[in-house]
Amino acid sequence: MNFKTLDELASLCAERSLSIGRLMVEEQSLESGRSPEAEFSTMAQYYEVMKEAVERGLTENTTSPSGLTGMDAQRVVNYGTQQEMNLGGAAGEVMAYALAVSEVNASMGRIVATPTAGSCGVIPGVFVSSQKRFGWSDEHMVYGLFAAGAIGYVIANNSFISGAEGGCQAEIGSAIGMAAGALVELRGGTPAQAVHAVGLALKNTLGLICDPVGGLVEVPCIVRNGFGAVTALAAADMALAGVRSVIPSDEVIQVMMEVGSSMPEKHRETAKGGLAQTPTGRKIMQDL
């Protein structure tokens, strides 16, 4: 890849008059030696898996093997049909879709790690519901996934994307940043605006610990996917409105690295602290 930072990514896009998504298709092709068409096809297949996961989560029984979670996406949809949601219909649907995919994951169904399985609901939630809302083509969405991937590539190589290394901020935080930046581009924003969206989003999850109850990717992971998808919409709207990340996004990524590196081990996916070690969390772990 010819970029290491978001700043370099945005400059490269400006230089070559390409969107982040289109640039990333070319960069990926250079990296793999496969044709741009082949790379695009693979991503298109991944998008189909995401859509299937949304559908399954909204229609099938998603009760997890532990019995702790499941069917929350369907609860939100049902509630939304009966009453006006506080979020409004569009954001409510994004939230429900994100919960749906995350519940499919917890029930050992098939998903795409975006960037991880623990955070696999955010991007499909934002993408699949926004596609429906704005009437976008699948092609448009696949370029959007390349944009999300380019942003995630920078975050992953300058910080981390696993809860065991950097806490939940590295997983859900990264996913929100990727979704927000990609959504800016999908809505016609510039690469520079997309980069601002990443910084705005990441700042909101700095310090978030990874404290899964019983060590399962269920509580609080699933609801954090729902919250995360809604936050991505907010960050994208701010960036499209011209709100800037005063601390440049690349510097925010460095802060995520600093915070995650100093996070105690008990808050990094070991289930030895946080929600996992509350009286109820401990009881759930014993009963598993």
């Binding site: 695009f40 991007i123 991937g149 994307i161 696993s162």
Partner: protein
């Protein structure tokens, strides 16, 4: 760069629930299977750090054994891998490792077959999003990710071995992406790991197999094969 391309971020397609503890574990197991060359009779799997703390909840045990059965990350048989292994004659045991580790998600595998005549040790770390690094094979400290077709060659440490390997690759027009080398002692055994672009031609393996001082050669390839879904073509530029 720890993460090489767009599909190390968007992807893999996988069976839940955890990319590092399920998909990454499956890839670590599968790398060991490829190195071993066949299904082992016995596998001792040692989990460290976060792997040790949460492996049952994440299905890490099922996934790593699924990998030993050569399953990819999205194989729907992963949830049943422990039972399938038992039925197919693979005896698996799990231990909790102690001591300093380089990464919180570390697994060490000790595989054997033919009553211990064939044996392999391997250590892998799961660095996030289903991506892995193999950091040790048979006590050699090497590095590979499995995302490229990889040659793992154990040989005597004497002049010209690496030149022979690289000449063989270059004669077939094969480009080296990454390479790592380690040896146990001067004039003892060494290991050379070569990650390449494109496919490994069978003739390359045959040619290196004839090399003086060769101890063993194995190939590893964890790249995700095309998944079943509708094909789509790249649209023309607007």
């Amino acid at each position: 760069m720890r993460f090489k391309d767009v599909f190390s971020i968007i992807g893999p397609v996988m069976v839940g629930p955890s990319s590092s503890h399920t998909a990454g574990a499956a890839r670590i197991g599968r790398a060991a299977r490829h190195l071993f060359g066949r299904q082992p009779d016995k596998a001792v799997i040692v989990f460290f750090g976060s792997f040790a703390a949460t492996y049952q909840g994440h299905g890490t045990d099922r996934a790593i054994v699924g990998g030993l059965l050569d399953y990819d990350t999205d194989d729907s048989r992963i949830p049943d891998a422990l039972e399938i292994a038992g039925q197919s004659g693979l005896v698996v045991s799990f231990e909790e490792g102690r001591g300093a580790i380089r990464h919180p998600n570390t697994a060490r595998l000790i595989l054997s077959a033919d009553g211990g005549k064939q044996r392999l040790t391997m250590t892998g770390i799961s660095i996030g999003g289903g991506n892995v690094e193999i950091i040790e094979v048979d006590d050699f400290n090497i590095k590979m990710t499995g995302t490229y077709p990889t040659l793992v060659i154990q040989h005597h440490d004497h002049p010209g071995v690496i030149a022979y390997i690289t000449n063989t690759l270059s004669s077939r027009g094969t480009n080296i992406a990454h390479m790592s080398v380690d040896r146990k002692s001067r004039s003892g055994n060494a290991m050379t790991v070569v990650e390449i672009d494109g496919e490994i031609h069978p003739e390359i393996v045959g040619q290196i197999g004839k090399m003086d001082g060769l101890v063993s050669i194995a190939t590893v390839d964890l790249s995700q094969k095309s998944i079943s879904s509708e094909w789509m073509v790249l649209p023309k530029e607007d």
